[in-house]
């Protein structure tokens, strides 16, 4: 069976307009949507320019501009594709970095100032990154699964990559994938502090460029396997023919200047599509307009495309719609799909004097029809050097012998390392195996100190959450004796660095925008911890953060397993990092945890496991703790799907983050109801990252012979995960 992936529907909300047609017409014309910020007071900033979306209708409480734009764009894409969620298994992947920050940043500043404040809870409903997917699901669902991910400014491109892995694995029939980010004071002030904004507006690839301009918007695409799309009578807009994802492991805000990693990704993405640089007709550049990005990207394109670079037109839409941050990768992928389907190139606005050092072929000012645009590349790069390259092709022709269309050999996946860093210490797999055996130890929730385990010089830019994550990750890697600099890393967090974000915006409101810390801002991006970890550990594989309320750890694990299973990487680190947080404890947990969690004190926690393809693990002689027998994820109030495997007789266990009534109800009537139930919270303390600890405990207990098979059940309101681990 070959798997080709069709894009069958597109949706856009951009500063140029609502909808694909409104945006497209103005994009080709070269209109620029850059003007003074009106959403908030932006005086006393280095630049007050941005590209805002006019006329965003925010329906009510729990909604944000981000989620409203997401629902609009996803809805347009689904209507265009004719997707019926009742007749197919439809998944949703949502990327983004700001969520409801614009709507909640004043309240956050207030919460920081008055720690005892307990009012206005309902306003925080729109805050988490997961709120975007949840609102989209309310109006367009139900979806069989939903993933919320962030990889800074490549989030949207990675949403399409996740969709591709789901489709190739045959786990869903259709995926609605994209990203949405609204402007907010935090990002506008942060990018100003980094001196990354051009006071005269973004001019990609121009000799005089001085930075980017922030934009906002949403872009979504519907993807499906060509075979099933054809069977239901759908027509393709384009084909997602290739992709490559990787990390520079260089610097949290600066691209690696030689562009070698990006060049390698461009080469891999083209090769994966069964093509060569000779076949490429167009490049939608990341093209932020910063001095460093554009120089690096031009160098990378020259390296990867060779002499063909003198023929292939390159453009960036950021001079027109600004840099839409987390949404940029999906908006530009949608635009690139339109370029190949309409055989029309979109321009680079603001490009009056092309930088002569670049040697690129530009499309300045206005778009133009092209005789041949069958193969196009879309680049998206993010803070932390998280880079993604997509290849979109004309789906009507036969443009290459896809590596992506090769039969998908689903790999068996095993767990080879596990570690937990918590107030009780730094635990390797042996200690993890014993953790829940003993009666609950008297918890002394003292501080967790990661610093003894870190090189102080290399760790100096790491925030506390990153330090915890890195220590747990390197301990898990050491336990696994794994040295794989192409390993992927996926870390979950329920609410990200909410306290640090509150402190940052409080400072802006109290002391003015020039007091914003440029060094601190990058740490507030939801994928900062993953980015820091990839840099510190030297990992060049795919990297992103997931969010899914108190099941963020489970979502990260399942995501990592999907990457390895589908052959996107040979090994992956997966886990969660959560800091004890006043705002989570007093405001967000009450809103989002559902069941009450009495008694236990919240703690700092990081838990990471190492997963690998079984064959790769065996061939390097790895000690295997457990095999991943099944991963299930679902939405809604129902329990695990009926195909949850049964335990093979006795000596099996159910490991959960915390004992809760929901677990009993869900397991009632299943063979797992008879198995002993082990909860991690009494031994570790309360944390939204306990799901990752449960996985570390479960794999370690099997690996050290304490049980035969384990069901890890992760539950949060409206979502659940069931992961069955068995002996190797």
């Amino acid at each position: 069976m070959t798997v080709r992936l069709w894009v069958t529907g597109l949706g856009l909300v951009t500063p140029l307009g609502h909808g694909v047609e409104a945006t497209w017409e103005r994009l080709v014309r070269g209109d620029r949507a850059i003007g003074p910020v009106t959403l908030f007071e932006a005086a006393n900033q280095r630049t007050t320019l941005a590209a805002e979306v006019a006329g965003v209708v925010v329906p009510g409480p729990g909604w944000s501009r981000s989620s409203a734009m997401a629902a609009e764009a996803a809805g347009e894409a689904m209507r265009a594709a004719g997707v019926d969620v009742r007749r197919a298994r439809v998944g949703l992947v949502v990327g983004g970095t700001t969520g409801g920050m614009f709507e909640t940043e004043r309240l956050l500043a207030h919460l920081h100032e008055e720690p005892d404040c307990r009012e206005s809870l309902v306003e925080m409903l729109s805050h988490p990154l997961t709120a975007t997917g949840d609102r989209v699901e309310e109006v367009l669902g139900p979806f069989v699964r939903v993933r919320t991910l962030a990889s800074a400014c490549s989030s949207g491109a990675n949403a399409l990559v996740v969709a591709a892995t789901w489709l190739r694995a045959g786990e869903v029939d259709v995926v609605v994938a994209g990203a949405s980010d609204g402007l907010c004071r935090l990002t506008h002030t942060g990018f100003n502090a980094l001196a990354a904004l051009d006071p005269e507006g973004c001019r990609p690839f121009d000799r005089r460029r001085r930075g980017t301009t922030l934009g906002e918007g949403a872009g979504f695409a519907v993807l499906e396997r060509a075979e099933s799309a054809r069977a239901r009578g759908a027509t393709p807009v384009a084909e997602l023919a290739g992709w490559a994802v990787g990390c520079e492991a260089h610097h949290i805000t600066h691209p690696a200047p030689d562009g070698s990693i990006v060049a390698a990704l461009v080469e891999r993405a083209i090769a994966r599509a069964g093509l060569t640089p000779r076949d490429v007709d167009y490049v939608s550049a990341h093209g932020t307009g910063t001095v460093h990005n554009d120089a690096m990207e031009a160098q990378a394109l020259r390296r990867a495309l060779g002499a063909e670079v003198h023929r292939i037109p390159v453009s960036s839409s950021k001079g027109q719609i600004g840099h839409t941050l987390g949404a940029a990768g999906s908006i530009e992928a949608v635009v690139t799909a339109l370029v190949v389907s309409r055989r029309t190139l979109v321009p680079t606005a603001g490009l009056d004097e092309p930088d002569p050092a670049f040697g690129l072929v530009h499309v300045p000012h206005v778009g133009r029809p092209a005789s041949r645009v069958r193969v196009a590349i879309s680049n998206a790069f993010g803070f932390g050097g998280m880079d993604t390259v997509l290849v979109l092709t004309d789906a009507t022709g036969d443009t290459g012998a896809r590596a992506t269309s090769a039969p998908v050999a689903s790999r068996a996946v095993v767990v080879t390392g596990a570690a937990i860093l918590a107030p009780c210490g730094l635990l390797g797999d042996e200690a993890c195996a014993r953790l829940v055996d003993a009666p609950a130890p008297a918890l002394a929730p003292g501080p967790v100190d990661p610093d003894p385990y870190l090189d102080p010089g290399r760790a100096r830019r790491l925030d506390r959450a990153s330090r915890l994550g890195v220590v747990a990750a390197q301990h898990a890697l050491a336990g696994a004796a794994l040295e794989d600099d192409e390993a992927a890393i996926v870390l979950g967090s329920a609410f990200g660095s909410v306290d640090a974000s509150a402190a940052f915006v409080h400072r802006i409101f109290a002391r003015g925008p020039r007091s914003a810390s440029p060094a601190e801002f990058p740490n507030l991006v939801p994928s900062a911890q993953v980015g820091h970890a990839s840099i510190y550990l030297g990992l060049h594989g795919p990297a992103f953060a997931t969010a899914d309320l108190a099941t963020a750890g489970e979502s990260a694990f399942v995501q990592a397993v999907q990457l390895v299973r589908g052959g996107e990487s040979s090994s992956a680190l997966a886990g969660a990092v959560e800091l004890r947080s006043d705002i989570v404890e007093r405001v967000l947990a009450a809103l989002f945890s559902g069941a009450s969690r009495p008694g236990l004190q919240r703690v700092d926690l990081a838990a990471v496991v190492v997963v690998e393809g079984e064959q790769a693990a065996r061939s390097r002689g790895a000690r295997i703790l457990a095999r991943v027998r099944q991963t299930l994820e679902w939405r809604g109030k129902e329990g695990p799907p009926a195909d949850l495997v049964a335990p093979p007789g006795d000596a099996c266990e159910v490991v959960v983050a915390r004992g809760s009534t929901g677990v009993d109800e869900l397991l009632e009537g299943t063979p797992w109801a008879r198995c002993p139930r082990l909860a991690c919270a009494p031994a570790l303390g309360e944390s939204d990252g306990l799901g990752a600890a449960a996985l570390a405990v479960a794999a370690s207990r099997i690996g050290h012979g304490r049980t035969r098979q384990v069901l890890v059940l992760g539950l949060a309101p409206g979502r659940g995960y069931a992961i069955v681990l068995s002996p190797p």
């Binding site: 010089g457 100096r460 440029p518 060094a519």
Partner: protein
């Protein structure tokens, strides 16, 4: 604040604000290049240091070539701060 005292204050600020663990502030030489040199500092540190100087000494740090001249060394920063505050 006399010039030597000001330079010491700036050195302490550099070590604390740029998270240079285990570095003795006085080991930073007055005329040693701050960026791209032995301290391992880069342009993100320069931005952070500029913000910190504005906060601590109530000055406005310019950008571009002017900033590069000021940030060449601890002495450059101290002379800038003294000039702005004295003038």
């Amino acid at each position: 604040m006399d010039p030597a005292e000001l330079r010491s204050a700036i050195k302490r600020l550099i070590v604390a604000e740029l998270h240079l663990p285990g570095r003795d502030p006085e080991s930073i030489e007055d005329d040693a290049p701050l960026f791209g040199g032995a301290l391992g500092l880069d342009s993100l540190d320069a931005l952070q240091l500029a913000m910190t100087l504005e906060e601590q000494f109530d000055v406005r740090v310019p950008e571009g070539d002017e900033a590069r001249a000021i940030f060449r060394s601890v002495r450059g920063i101290a002379e800038f701060v003294a000039k702005v505050r004295g003038g």
